[in-house]
């Protein structure tokens, strides 16, 4: 059986290659929204922050740090996805008739 580290590295290797291939195809028009989107996605660290804050053995330090961490990443999730949506909505091919 592979250890956790080996499995993790395996997943990391595959995800990095998928990431590089997929991102290379992203239109340069959308580089700014891409960055805010990946930023929102990397706010997946909310999972870690919930785990540490909500665990039964959480010390006061864990609760305080976890609280700040959740606040920070939820801000990123919300503002990241919304602002990306706001940006990509603006890209139109033809002019809108008024």
């Amino acid at each position: 059986m592979a250890t956790d580290l080996e499995l993790g590295l395996f997943v990391f290797m595959l995800a990095t290659f998928i990431g590089l291939e997929v991102i290379r195809k992203v239109s340069p028009l959308l580089h700014t929204p891409l960055m805010s989107l990946t930023n929102a996605i990397s706010a997946i660290s909310v999972v870690g922050a919930i785990l540490i804050t909500g665990s039964a053995g959480a010390t006061l330090l864990s609760k305080v740090l976890g609280f700040v961490a959740i606040t920070a990443v939820v801000t990123n999730i919300v503002s990241g996805f919304l602002i990306t949506d706001r940006m990509v909505k603006m890209f139109k091919k033809r002019e809108v008739k008024k």
Binding site: V22, H31, A56, L61, I83, V88
Partner: protein, 472 residues
């Protein structure tokens, strides 16, 4: 329920990949955003229903609900206004801020893990878990302060010029070496809790020192690198917590930042190390003072008549346009010219502005159709057939010296071949050299007309002149 959580995580990881995949074209990009949102929602729901408790699994074993709910509420209350109020010209600052937030979260979670696991240090802080925790906190803290510095520079709270001092790279290197040494020591002896605050402090200071010598024009690369670091720290958290979802999402973000920074470096013909340690823009300040050279300037009226006579115009936007918030006025100019049958396109240099794709977003905000926004490599072939190239707030990316003058600091940088157009018009506030302090030969060509003024004010004068002439 733990299995349900794992399956939700797998779906979520798949959605994240799809989300980035759909960003390859503006037509599908909104689906990309939705896929990302659903993926995130599933991940959060999954975490709650599969929560590993002391003696069981599930939502009933989540403690400290008040803390968690309060944090979510504050996050939402802060996040929504940021997303809707933030003007598009301020997007680079917001991006830097969100890198800082993401990195801070990773660092704090790592810190909390480190202390909370101390009682079981011999089993839970061993081997690669401790290595992952150290990488997570190191990258997290340095990206946090580094991004705050970048944000300060973008917001112009901090000077945009590089801040340098003697032996800067040596000091940085020593500091980093000490932090690394502490990290190695902690990886072997995780019970040395006294070292942790010193390590965290050094990482914070290193983040500041890393960014202060970098100038404003290099921000596109720096933001991309910080993006990559923030992703990698989330990825390291995945290793520390043994969560594959975090590893996948972090790796996607890390590779995205990496690719963008490579694109930015190529677009400036510079290497990573040169961007990070080169203190660009400092060295050239004194050499910028050349002899007075002759140039031609023109009024809005004259410029309007040149534009009117043209059949094709390429507009080259730059950071100055963002500063002047001129994007909507440019849209009016675009409308006015298009109505006269003039073919108007936009030539976008990859590093124009302060972050990757900055100019495209501003032009899209002003409702300019995206098929008129043309990349450098494609538009460069069109300049020789183009009647008028109108440069608005861009400088170094149009400097022909980059092709010919080996002594020039930007030699080798790919530029927009603006000088090949029949007539060149440059809207600029004064003859002062641009950010890098390099004199632009373009301004002294016989075919170049300098239009002095604020970008927004001048473009609106142009727009006013155009219909007036049509009526006459």
């Amino acid at each position: 329920m733990a299995h349900v959580m794992q399956y939700l995580y797998i779906i979520s990881a798949g959605l994240f990949i799809l989300s980035l995949r759909w960003m390859n074209h503006p037509a599908s990009s909104r689906h990309g955003v939705w896929a990302g949102e659903i993926g995130m929602l599933l991940a959060i729901v999954g975490t709650f229903i599969g929560f590993p408790g002391m003696d069981g699994v599930g939502i009933a074993f989540v403690h400290n609900w008040t803390w968690i709910i309060a944090a979510f509420v504050i996050g939402i209350v802060v996040g929504v206004p940021i997303a809707y109020i933030m003007p598009m010209t301020a997007v680079p600052q917001r991006t830097a801020l969100s890198h800082a937030c993401g990195a801070l979260a990773a660092a704090l979670v790592g810190t909390a893990e480190f202390y909370q696991r101390q009682p079981h240090a011999d089993t839970e802080l061993r081997g690669f878990i401790m290595v992952a925790l150290v990488i997570e906190t190191l990258l997290g803290y340095l990206t946090f302060t580094g991004s705050l510095m970048a944000m300060g520079k973008l917001q112009e709270v901090l000077p945009q010029r590089p801040i340098t001092y003697r032996n800067q790279n040596l000091v940085n290197f020593i500091l980093f070496a000490i932090a690394l040494g502490l990290a190695v020591r902690m990886a072997f002896v995780p019970t040395d809790t006294i070292l942790f605050p010193i390590f965290a402090g050094l990482s914070l200071v290193f983040g500041v020192l890393l960014i202060i010598p970098i100038g404003g024009a290099d921000m596109p690369t720096v933001i991309a690198i910080l993006n990559s670091y923030a992703g990698l720290s989330a990825c390291a958290m995945g290793f520390a917590l043994n969560s594959r979802l975090l590893v996948v999402a972090g790796a996607l973000d890390g590779s995205s930042g990496l690719i963008l920074s490579i694109i930015m470096c190529k677009a400036m013909n510079r290497s990573f190390t040169n961007v990070l340690f080169g203190a660009f823009g400092q060295v050239q300040v004194s050499t910028g003072k050349a002899e007075q050279r002759a140039y031609r300037s023109a009024s809005a009226e004259e410029a309007a008549s040149v534009l009117e006579a043209a059949s094709s115009v390429i507009i080259v936007p730059g950071y100055g346009l963002a500063v002047a918030q001129a994007q909507h006025k440019i849209r009016e100019l675009y409308d006015s010219l298009t109505k006269r049958g003039v073919d108007v396109k936009f030539g976008i240099h990859p590093v124009a502005g302060r972050m990757p794709g900055h100019m495209n977003v501003l032009m899209a905000e002003a409702d300019i159709p995206y098929d008129k926004l043309v990349e450098m490599d494609e538009i460069n072939g069109e300049f020789p057939q183009c009647d008028v190239a109108l440069v608005i707030g861009a400088n170094d990316v149009t400097n022909p010296k980059a092709r010919t003058d080996k002594s020039c600091p930007i030699f080798g940088m790919p530029i927009l071949d603006v000088d090949k157009a029949h007539t060149v018009m440059v809207i600029k506030r004064s003859m002062n050299p641009g950010f890098a302090g390099i004199d632009n030969d373009l301004y002294y060509l016989d075919k170049t007309l300098m239009l002095f003024g604020d970008a927004k004010a001048f473009v609106s004068e142009l727009v006013k002149e155009l219909p007036a002439r049509a009526a006459a």
